[in-house]
Structures are given as C-alpha cells and as structure tokens.
Amino acid sequence: MSTRLAKGGRLINRTAPVEFSFNGKRFKGFQGDTLAAGLLANDQMLVGRSFKYHRPRGIVASGPEEPNALVNLGQGARLEPNQRTTTTELFEGLESTSQNHWPSLEFDVGVVNNYAARFLPAGFYYKTFIHPRPFWKHVFEPIIRRSAGLGKAPITGDADRYEQAYAFCDVLVIGAGVAGLLATKAAADAGQRVILLEQNPTLGGRAPVDETEVQGQPVEAWLSAIESDLAARDNVTIRTRTCGFGVYDHGYVLADERIADHTPGDGRPKHCLWRIRAGKIVTATGAIERPLSFAGNDIPGVMLASAVRDYVVNYAVSPGDRTVVVTNNDSAYQTALALKAAGLDVPAILDARDRATGALPEAARAAGIRILTGKGIAKVKGGKRVVGVAVCAQAGEGAVQEEIACEAVAMSGGWSPVVHLWSHCGGKLNWDETISAFIPDPTRPPLNHDGTAMVEVVGAAAGLLDLPAIVAGVASSGTHTRVRTESRRNPDGKQTVKTSVEIPPVWIMPQGAPIKLRNKMWLDYQNDVKVSDVQLAAREGYQSVEHTKRYTTLGMATDQGKLSNINGLAILADSLGSEIPQVGTTTFRPPYTPVTIGTLAGESRGEIFQPLRRTPMHEAHEKSGAYFEPVGLWRRPYCFPRAGETHEQAVHREVLNTRTNLGLLDASTLGKIIVKGPDAGRFLDMLYTGVMSTLPIGKCRYGLMCNEQGFLSDDGVVARIDEDTWLCHTTSGGADRIHAWMEDWLQCEWWDWQVYTANVTEQYAQVAVVGPNARKLLQVLGGMDVSKEALPFMQWAGGTLAGFPVRVYRISFSGELSYEIAVPASHGAAFWAACMEAGKALGAMPYGTEALHIMRAEKGFIMIGDETDGTVIPQDLGLDWAISKKKADFLGKRGQERVYLSSPDRWKLVGFETLDGSVIPDGSYVIADGVNANGQRNTQGRVTSTYYSPTLKCGIAMGLLHQGPGRMGEVVEFNTVLGGTVKAKVCDTVFFDKDGEKQNV
C-alpha cells in the first residue's frame, strides 16, 4: 500500500496538516501536497475509471501530463470537472470525487466493457453506429453521451471571477528549471526586460529531485541564490503557478495564472489570463517521461519512474514497500536509489538494454540492488492494484521467467522533450536517434515578422537530458543578447552542445509480444487506446498519423497525448514498416494544458458581458417601465407598457395616441455624421443615389446609400448646415459602419478630395415630437418660431426651446406633423423631462420602436433591414425617384445597370391587404404554381413588413412580389409557418393618408 514516510518531503510542511475528502472519505495531508500526493499518502491508489473499458486506474504521473487521476473538484458553484490531481494543490476542506464510474468507483458495471474489449476495437464507433442512419441521432448518440464523458458539467453559474491582463517584455522565458533560470539570468544580465513563467508553485524544475549539485554548488543553495538574485532585479518578473500554454504569431504568448485555485473564496480572481507580447520567447519546458508498453501497464501502482521519485522526495510518499523499476535508460536508476535512500525495497531493476554500465547503474549495483539486464515485464499482476510482475526476456515473446511480488512498478521508456510551445507557430522537429525523441531543429525555428527566430529552446526541451549539457546549452544560446539564433550555430546547423544521454528505442515490451499481451498494453490511458488498436488501424489502411489519431482517438483526451503520442506513432511506424521521422507527429496546437472557459471569458460576464449603449434618456425610460429591445449594441424602448397592459396593447395605444394627440420618441440612436469641405458636396453625390450638392442651406433631403454592387445599404435624411457642411443621418445600427465606409473612400480612393467627416451621433440627444399636437408642444416650450411658414416640411432651424440650445428638423417618419429636436446629450434627460411635463396637457405619451415601425409601415416607408437584406436595390422598392438620372456616377450605379438587376422580371415592393383582415405571419412567401427541383413549392414573392394596424384596424403588409407594381388588385396566396395559406390583395404600399395631408399642416 502507498503511505506517508516518517521523514523527508521537500515540499510539504508537516506542521500544517490539511483535511480533504475524496468520494466522501476524509483524508489528511499537509500543506504543500498536491492532491495526488495526498491521495497516495492515504493509500488511495485507485482514483478513477478509464473512458471506454472502465478499467481501474491510478496515479501515473506527477505533473500536467497525468492522464488518469482527474477528479471533480469542489461542488455547486465551484464544481470543476477534469481537474488533474497531480497539479491541484491541497487546501483545507478540498472536496473531490472520482469520475467516469457507475455506480461506484470500486464496483463499476461499465467494466463489463473490459471483457468485451475485443468488440470495441479501434474505429468501433465508426464501424458500428453508421447503420441504420437514423439510429445515430436517436439511439446511439444519446447512449454514448451518457456512458462517455469525464467529469460532471457544473449546472450553476461560476462563483469565482476571472481576469485578463496584458504584459510586455523583451524576453519571455517559459519554465523555471535550471535552464529557464539560467536563461532568465543571462537575459537579465544583458539588460533585457524579462518575464519568467513557471507552472508549478516552486522554481527549480526537476533539479532538486534529480541532481545533487548545480554549477558546483549544492542544488538547494544554488536555487535559493539564483532565486534571490532574480527576485532582486527590477527587470525580471517571475510568475509562478503560471502556465505559458500557447505561442502565437509576432511573439504573442498566452499564459494561465492560477491565482486562487488553492485559496478558493478568498476574493481574488481565480485565474488570470496573461496576454504577453514578447520580443523573443525562450522555452525551457523540460521533458516528460514516457511510459513503457507492457501488458497491464495501466494497473494502479504502475507509475512513471520520475513520478515515483517525485512523490518520495518531494512529498515523502511511498508508492509501496516494494517497487520494481523497469526501464530502457539510466534515469530510472535514480528512482531505485531514491527509494533505497527512503528505506524502501527495490526487488529488481528490469533493464531492457543488454548492458547497463553508466554511473547510475553502477551506483545502484553498489547499493545492492538486483539489476536484470535484457529483461522486461511480461505482464503486471493485479486488478485494482499491483501485486507483482512477471519477468521475461525483452528479446523474446513474453515467456515468464520469474515472478516478483511488489506493490508498485516504476517505469521509464525514455524522455520526450516538451516541444509543444516550439511547435505551435511552426517550429520544426528532428528525430534524434541518440535519445529516441523528437527535438527542435534550431535551423527551422518559428519566425518573427522580420525572419528572425521567434522562439529558442533551452534545456531538456532542446533534447539535452543531462545537467552539464543543459548548463552549457544555455551558455551557448542567444538568451544573453537579441542576436539572431542562427548566428551562434555551426554552419552545418547542428547544435553546438550535445547530451551524453543515450536512450535506445523500446516501443513494445517484450519486443515479440503476441496479441494477447498487446491487447493489454495501454498507449493512451485516458482514451483507452492500446498497442493493438494502432496496429489494427495500420492494417486497415491508415497511414497518416493525423488520420490514425482520429480513428483510434489516440492522444485526443484532455491530456492531448502527452504520454502516448510518441509511443503511438512509433507503433504506427513499425506497423507500416516505416521510419518514425517519415510518419511524423500530429500537430501541436494550443493550449498546452486545458484552460478553463472562465479564464478565456475573463471579465466578460454579467453586467459587462458586452458593452450596452445607452442614450442620455435611458435611465428615464427604465424608470417609466420601458420594455427594451436590442438595436445593434443600443437598447431602445420597444414600448412603454402600463400596469396591466400587454406589450401589444401598449404598442397599439402608443400608435393611436401619436396619431390623435402627441407621441414622443427617443431618437438619439440615429446616426449623425458631419461631412465638411470644399469637396463635400461632390463626395455626398457619389455616396448617395440622389443629389446632395444642390441641397439649399437650411433644407433636408432623404437619401439612399448603396454599396458598389448597387444593393441598398443605408438611408436617412441629409441636412445642409452651411456652405461646405452637411449633416448625414444614418440608421441607428448603421452610424459606425457608414462612418467607416465614408473614411474608407476618403482615405483609400479619393484621398485627394478635401473632405473631413466626424461622427457626432452621441453628441446629441434627439427627441421626435410627433402628432397633431406636436407644434403646440414646441410652442409651449417656447423660444423659436416653429410655424408652418417659418419651418416648413423638410427644413431645419437652430434656436432654443425652453432655454435648451436645439436644432429642430421638420421631418416625419410617421406621416404625422413631426419635429426631430437635437439637444446636446448632457441636456438630453432634462429636455426629455421638459417635453413630457409640458406635453401632459397635450396628451403626450412616449412611444417605442414597435409603434415607430407600425406607423412607418402604415405610410409605406421602407426600413433598412426589413425591406432590404443585401440583395435588394432601390428600384426594387419603387425608390427610383430618389435615384438621380443626371449624375455621371455614384456608388452602385454601375452595379444597378447589370442585366439581372435592371431586369423587369424582379420581385418588387407592393402592399398587401389580407382578404380576411388577418395579419400575414412574418417570413411568409407568396406561393406560385408547381414545385422546384427539390420538391419545394415555387415562390413568387415574400413579405418584408407585416403588422396589425391599430389605425386601420386590420392587418397590413409590404412585400416583394414578382413584377409586383403591375399586378395591383390581384389576389395572391401566402404560405404560413403553421401550414395553410392566407389570401391577400396586391395594393399600394401607402395604407394611411395617401396624400400626406397630416404631416403637411
């Protein structure tokens, strides 16, 4: 059984005990433990079930590469699934539960899949669930979704907050092992601004566990010296618990800082996403130990050799009294020595190599440890935990020569440099025969905008697996200057520093293992992919490693194949009779480790999920109970319901009141763009289909804007302010877009025209005063002459009303007598209040956007976005009168001359009156005879605006109809979403006050 040792534990504080729970069981650990260390200290070796076969699984690793030991952490609003116990720091009251088991971790019925494993081979899902087709959606997928999946998704909102922050530096070093620390110091010595990121809470990497001396000093002394040296420097920032997880173009790096994971609820943000712009990136990300593929290598108690010594040295946790070490390289001997030093038994070291003569094997021999060379594991014995291993010859087929009883197996299949960050932006790899691993090719780095190397790799990540080489490698690197990395390389492009470590390839143990053993050799623990699965995929014709990955799901779990990828592609290469470099790796994509969604969302949640635009009167509308609707990012009152009123009733009341008394509309969102300059008139003549240059000062003109293709893009009223100044009103949603459109033409095409624009949309609050009593209200407010004579229709005037500085536009979008009054936004709320107050005696009521829509539809006015959808030209809408025939050119003119757009055969705007007075459902089409090639009913038109008119007490609609204007009086049929049809008579688009008498008083 695994337990806590009486002495030692570099990272734990025995004076600070911590209580935590796993599946409801209460355990004790120490401050400084990871959750994995705490579980092992309490003999909780079984921590989860595998994804597909529900096999019992234990802790394998001691870092972010852990595939098995994932838990649901916390509960309620702080529940987080798939948390790696190996990187989760223990804290008082931590609650965790295992994942992927039913009904319990110990007794899992899904394990039956284990016995049916021969029926769940690679590509099982693809092969099995493809027929019959409908079964996928209704039967297979729901079942798979229930049985698969790892942790539980939280169902409540996240109690924590997250933030993001920007950082900048000359040199960003990722990884604070010996190589990263030396690189940081070198860059700092050269006066560079350096940021050093370390995913763990402490610095030093593997050195404190694996080394005794660094640069001639005891490792702990060396570490504390360099730590305090760096901490004292102004130009160095060290961030621990921060994982640099993605490298992007132009030296952009994302890093996830776990600020309060280990202190939940202390008020600090849980994580911070650092968005770092670095002049140069140095990755010192180390290497990850590889498992060996032998039968039963997934049984709890089988661990990476490096993890075993981490638990012994860092946390004083013993994986068991007797640990068998199995390896193909010298580093695992350190584990044997560490176990020995802790007073534990190592019954044997099984070394797959024929000879083991290095310093470490010799030290192990001297310590009296039995070393069996040329041997491997035929199979691991045990179910929910290891009880022993069967030893065989590595060269053979697995005939058992000896059985050794043990509680744990420490395995090492060599080391894979962590090349992810190097590769994210295109850094290339070479296969290194000496250490049997892919290492970065320094001659093919990811490049910066100027062609220089963006990333440099130092330390074990560069394939340097021994400390002298690591130290020498940093010294010869470019980290102390900003010179191009190429310049310090040999002409043949090889690295100047070589590692003394040799790791021969051992991909299967024993090398001639029959299918019975290969069936139990796990490559990908989390996704349950075995050696036999990859071999089957190869037999079935899979050659590309990318295809094989997706077919077998190798490396597709939350650990992204940190342990399994190299072993998997080695098996694939072997099965294909090909070489590993020819098979290549799958693509390394960010993030290196999973990043919780909350971190990516940052502050964008709740009230500040996105910016809401508010008019100066917004608060007043809220107080009067307005029901808002989104218009772009604006919130506009849709209607102002009174107590007991439905929204529909409110809208109808607002329409009728405006038509009979007085309505007030907050029109502040209307776009307002000033266009000024000697060429402004000419510019507007190009932008609008009509002529704006001839507009007299003081007058207003309605205009249409098209894109180059001729399609209608925006509309609005233009006012001539003075000799060389115009004010263009745009739609509420169109202001920013049209302003950008203007600047685009001025900056890129007509850069020699003397025109300046300014978007003054938000400078003014605008109130539409609409209805028969509109003029009376303005007269009550007083201050300027707004009579028919002084201010006729389509003119504007500046002055004051009730003491407010105003510009009054006599324009109408409702068919009523109407003024739109612009006041500086800082006076908007006060002016609105003054209008409401003075309007009381005149029957004034505020109205919202829906009433506005109905009134404009009653008058046959088009609405951008209703009558237009990017495929409609002004001629389709009967707006030929607003298109100049005299102008030589305007944006869209040529487009509109194209045959298809100028054809008389187009769908054109008409009005529709239903025969039964009902309202045509939104989205309805006018049906035609016959069906199209898809068997769908032919159509000849569609509705674009449809409302119940409270004024006319019937349904009214506008829509596009094939050759519509020529078909007045004809009865057509609309389909409806619910089935059935609605008959309607084609009519004029103007339903109310056809002669415009009401607005012209």
């Binding site: 635009r613 508010r614 300059g677 006060a830």
Partner: protein, 176 residues
C-alpha cells in the same frame, strides 16, 4: 436651461485604485493637416503647441492630443468650447479643416492611485512601463474604444458617452 449632466453624474468607485467619472469636459475634434496656421490656431484655442505623433500637450485644464495624422483632440473647460471654436476659426479661416464640439459625445474617467496602471493593464493592450509622460494611447478598454494618458499621478480615460456605464463597471471591476 438645466446644468449639463455627464453620463454617470460623477460616479466613483474605490478599489485598489480610485475610479471617478469627471466632466462634463469640453472637447473639440479638430481635423486638419499641413495647415500653415495650425500651430497658431491650437495655441489660441488651448494654449499649447501642436502635439507630435502619439503625444498630448497639457496646459493646466486645457490640452491638445494627437489622434491621427489629420486629427487632434482639444480639451478645455465645458463652458469654453464656443470660445475655443471661434479662436480656431480665425487663424484657420479660408482653409480646409473641421472643428466640431464633441464634449457631450464623450465620457471621461480618472483612474488614480499607485496601482492605477494595473487597472488599465487588465483592459488595454498597452505597455504602461514604456508609456512616456505626455504620451496618449488611442486603444481599447476590453470591448470599447478608449484613449488615455497619464496626468497628475493617475490616468485620464476618454470613451464614448453611450458606453460610459460599461466603462465604469469595467474599470471598477478591474480595480477590485
């Protein structure tokens, strides 16, 4: 006529830095390029020289900021906009330029305290360690456009009026 009211009526928040909405503040967008008397006009309006690229020239409660190769932002007390506009008009008359009052289109915030830069560093992709005194950044604060500069031991931030509430909530959240 009522007194002018800024978007949030002077809202404030105290976190590890202080956030205050100030204003209303007078502001003029001046668009002009390569005009002979531009320096004279800016001097007359706000008493500063023409700012160089990415610079802001501050003259107590007035300032002139470079916004683009042909755009400047003039800052002054709210009540002095009309005077400033006519001060610009005289030297620039007959030349092609655009000067327009945008005081009401903006919301202005002060971020103050030793750690004020930390607040903005969470919202804007700006290297505050290299932001020189007298430098202005036209950048963004999370999802909205914003311009800011260091002044009087803190920062002044300008954004559009309609998003003042978002900006305030954002700044306050970042100062928690």
């Amino acid at each position: 006529m009522s007194d002018p009211v800024s978007a949030l009526n002077g809202a404030s928040f105290q976190g590890f830095a202080a956030i205050r909405e100030i204003g209303p503040l007078g502001m003029i967008t001046l668009r002009a390029k390569g005009l002979k008397s531009l320096d004279k006009a800016i001097k007359a309006a706000v008493g500063t020289k023409v700012p160089a690229q990415r610079r802001i020239e501050v003259n107590s409660d007035r300032a002139c900021a470079w916004m683009s190769p042909d755009e400047y932002l003039l800052v002054m007390p709210y009540t002095e906009v009309a005077t400033a506009l006519s001060s610009l008009a005289k030297p620039l008359s007959g030349q092609h330029y655009l000067a327009v009052d945008v005081s009401d289109a903006r919301a202005v915030f002060r971020i103050e305290g030793d750690r004020a830069a930390e607040v903005l560093g969470k919202l804007a992709p700006v290297d505050f360690a290299t932001l020189q005194p007298g430098e202005i950044r036209r950048s963004r604060a999370a999802q909205i456009a914003a311009a800011f500069w260091a002044q009087d031991g803190g920062f002044t931030l300008v954004c559009f009026r309609s998003v003042a509430r978002y900006a305030f909530d954002l700044l306050s959240n970042a100062a928690r």
